[in-house]
Amino acid sequence: MKFRRGKLISLLLLICFAVVSVAGCGGAATEKEPVTTGEVGDTLRLGAIYPLTGPLAKLGQEEQKGAQIAADLRNDAGGINGNKIEWIFADAPTPEAGVSEAERLITVEKVPVIMGSYSSGVAYAASAVAEKNKVIYWENSGVADNITQRGFKYLFRFGITGTSLGETTIKMLRDVIAPELGKDPKDYKIGVIWEDSSFGTSVGQGAIGLAKELGYNVVFTESYSAKTTDLSSLVMKLKQNDIDILIPTSYVADGLLLFKQMQELNFVPEAVIMGGNATQDLKAAMGEKINGLAHSDITQPRTNEAMAPGLEAFMKEYKERYGSEPYSGHVIRAYAGANVLFDVLEKAGSTDADKIAEAARSLDLPLGSTAAGWGVKFAPEGDPMMGTNERAEAYGCIWYKDEIFTVWPVEGQLEDVEVLVPWPAR
């Protein structure tokens, strides 16, 4: 008697557990029907993974906006071969979450393509899942060079690499800043500093690499943690080394701390060229003092339409929806990348990974063909950077009259923009 009741209770509990988990699965884990682009009027469900919570949430959310606008505009124009596009967004603040969300998108939501992922760590982990499952991983934003150095067949990176961001800082110095200051770039003492995540590291190394190749005088290089609460010792080192041109790569908060402490400690270089970070938060914090600060970054809203077709339409839509300037170039990159992905899907006419990959590899668009100003040509199979877009290059931009304008390459320049150096004004 006693035994039976005990068992009964346990069984009951087990059933409860099973019911709860099945109910829990509900929408989340019941398998959806696979999609095809075969019939007109179907919905084409695509996955997108971004860090929507946690410390990287801000830019992850921006990229989500870009992807959504791209889908909506494309749907208004008829979708992909008559199919409506629907994004299934997933939140991945860590690589581990990236894996579990990629698994979910692939096996539960049955998406043929996953787009992502802002964070390089998430890109590494989630793209490995996609590769194993033969699903296309469309990376717009991860900048760490070695994401595409693993020989993955189904991984494509539309966006720029960190190395390119770093190299453009030096190219800007050579082509824009130094001529404006009327000096030979070789006469400057250059200091390169970067926050020590994979983002900062790859940008810093890119800048150092090209500067040394060109025979420039790099006298100081050092990394720091973006979580630090004090950068005064770093500023003291820059001061001691008499740096003329500072090339810092940072996130917003640590970048602001750096500038504040530079001003406090009276360290004034001839020019500052930042790797990335041309954001509205930076402007809001610095006010008009920001004018003259140069960046190497993703293509900015104020870029010549001739170089970035479709940018104006996108900007109009963005401002209508969110009532503000885009936070940074990230949303443009996500928008342009999503559009290239839609083109590829249209060309492939199928959700088969091999066909999509083939269509992607066959693309050959010159610079200035996308809203981000870049072309598209993915490194072929066998190439060490297989899957990376060889026609993506970081743009140089500068703050002028409280707005950020593209100044490099020169074709991207919108109007006569004054390069206000030295910055900050003494």
């Binding site: 008697m1 006693k2 035994f3 009741r5 005990g6 068992k7 209770i9 346990s10 509990l13 087990l14 557990f17 099973a18 988990s21 829990g24 699965c25 929408g27 989340a28 884990a29 398998e31 929507l52 919570t53 949430a57 959310q61 299934i88 967004f89 997933a90 939140d91 860590t94 690589p95 581990e96 979450a97 894996v99 579990s100 969300e101 698994e103 979910r104 692939i106 096996t107 539960v108 760590g121 590494y124 982990a125 490995a128 194993k132 499952n133 760490a144 070695n146 693993r150 020989g151 020590d196 995540s197 994979s198 590291t201 790859s202 990394s223 943690s225």
Partner: protein
């Protein structure tokens, strides 16, 4: 046979055995074998159950609040991946090296730190975990720094790398079984009694001749070794490690949280904690993650707070008490009839 008998006698055990059976079935039955999301969740559940059980040895039985276990996890993950990438050592040998290094680290950390009591020990372990993370970032010649390392995609038993999910499931089950076996043995061993005595009253235990420091250090070493194995499995499964993901203080916290939710200082508590928390985390992320930013973590935190307030001993012991009470009632009713 005796196990079966003991299962019948112990409802909590029966309950958990059934859960384990369901988990294994879900891994292997063809119907769900195609659903990698569920499979991934089960693997994570088993892995976390093992990690929480490993933490339980030092935290639950010995009552030493270590908040730096991510350090051992990271040591395990980095040892195996670096050996494989730099020296082409098989992960199976790397696993042995990882365990060895974690034990050495446990001695180096534990030997001085166990003189500290209560919150001081906890803070010291937080600091050690942080220092390890910072070192992993800055000694980039050795560790590749924040760029992280990708595991080489060479599949096969020799490389401890599999295309099929169930292989990882078996690895995680084996890991969990190993930890649980060790905890079970520990419970009945002299060391186990020492640890509980130290947890209840260290001074009293000392006065009865218990060598407290040595007992705690031994438990810490065992706990570290298992945590490192967990790190190895994580690295071989996720295929990418970097300092901020394998040395993260959030990992240490999660081991603690799961153990406490399930029931500290009990054999099955941490397992129950992982079985409940991992799916909870993943489902609420799947539901709310893409829409309202931050909501799923708010829900997670509120549930945690409620558990701490309402069932502080953890779900496991509370549940088994409830079952016992019901049993007794049933028994007395049976007598009346």
């Amino acid at each position: 046979m005796s196990y079966i008998k003991s299962i019948i006698n112990n409802k909590a055990k029966l309950f958990l055995t059934l859960i384990a059976a369901v988990a294994i079935m879900a891994m292997l039955v063809p119907a769900s074998a195609g659903n990698a999301f569920i499979q991934n969740m089960i693997i994570m559940m088993l892995l976390w159950a093992g990690l929480a059980s490993a933490w339980n040895i030092i935290g639950g039985y010995a009552g030493q609040l270590s908040l730096g276990h991510a350090g051992f996890f990271g040591i395990g993950a980095y040892t195996v991946v670096l050996l494989a990438v730099k020296l082409e050592v098989s992960p199976w040998l790397g696993l042995i090296a990882a365990v060895f290094l974690a034990v050495v680290a446990a001695v180096i950390i534990g030997w001085p730190c166990f003189r500290l009591q209560g919150p001081f020990f906890a803070l010291a372990t937080v600091a050690v975990g942080e220092v390890l993370r910072i070192l992993a970032i800055n000694f980039s010649d050795l560790t590749y720094g924040t760029n992280g390392i990708s595991v080489k995609m060479e599949f096969g038993l020799g490389f401890m790398l599999f295309r099929e999910k169930w292989a990882y499931g078996i690895m995680a089950i084996a890991f969990l079984a190993l930890v649980l076996y060790a905890v079970k043995k520990l419970e009945k061993s002299r060391l186990g009694y020492y640890l509980v005595a130290i947890r209840e009253d260290q001074d009293a235990a000392r006065s009865l001749g218990v060598k407290a420091s040595r007992a705690k250090l031994t438990a810490y070493m065992i706990s570290a070794a298992f945590t490192a194995i967990g790190g190895v499995i994580y690295a071989q499964y996720i295929l990418y490690i970097d300092p901020d993901s394998v040395f993260a203080s959030a990992l240490s916290m999660q081991m603690v949280l799961m153990t406490i939710v399930g029931g500290m200082g009990t054999l099955w508590g941490p397992v129950l904690g992982a079985v409940l928390m991992v799916p909870l985390d993943q489902f609420i992320r799947a539901y709310f993650g893409g829409s309202v930013h931050g909501l799923h973590m708010v829900i997670y935190a509120v549930i945690l707070i409620l558990v701490i307030l309402v069932i502080p001993r953890g779900i496991g012991p509370t549940l088994s008490d409830w079952v016992k009470k019901y049993d007794k009632k049933a028994e007395s009713e049976g007598d009346r009839i």
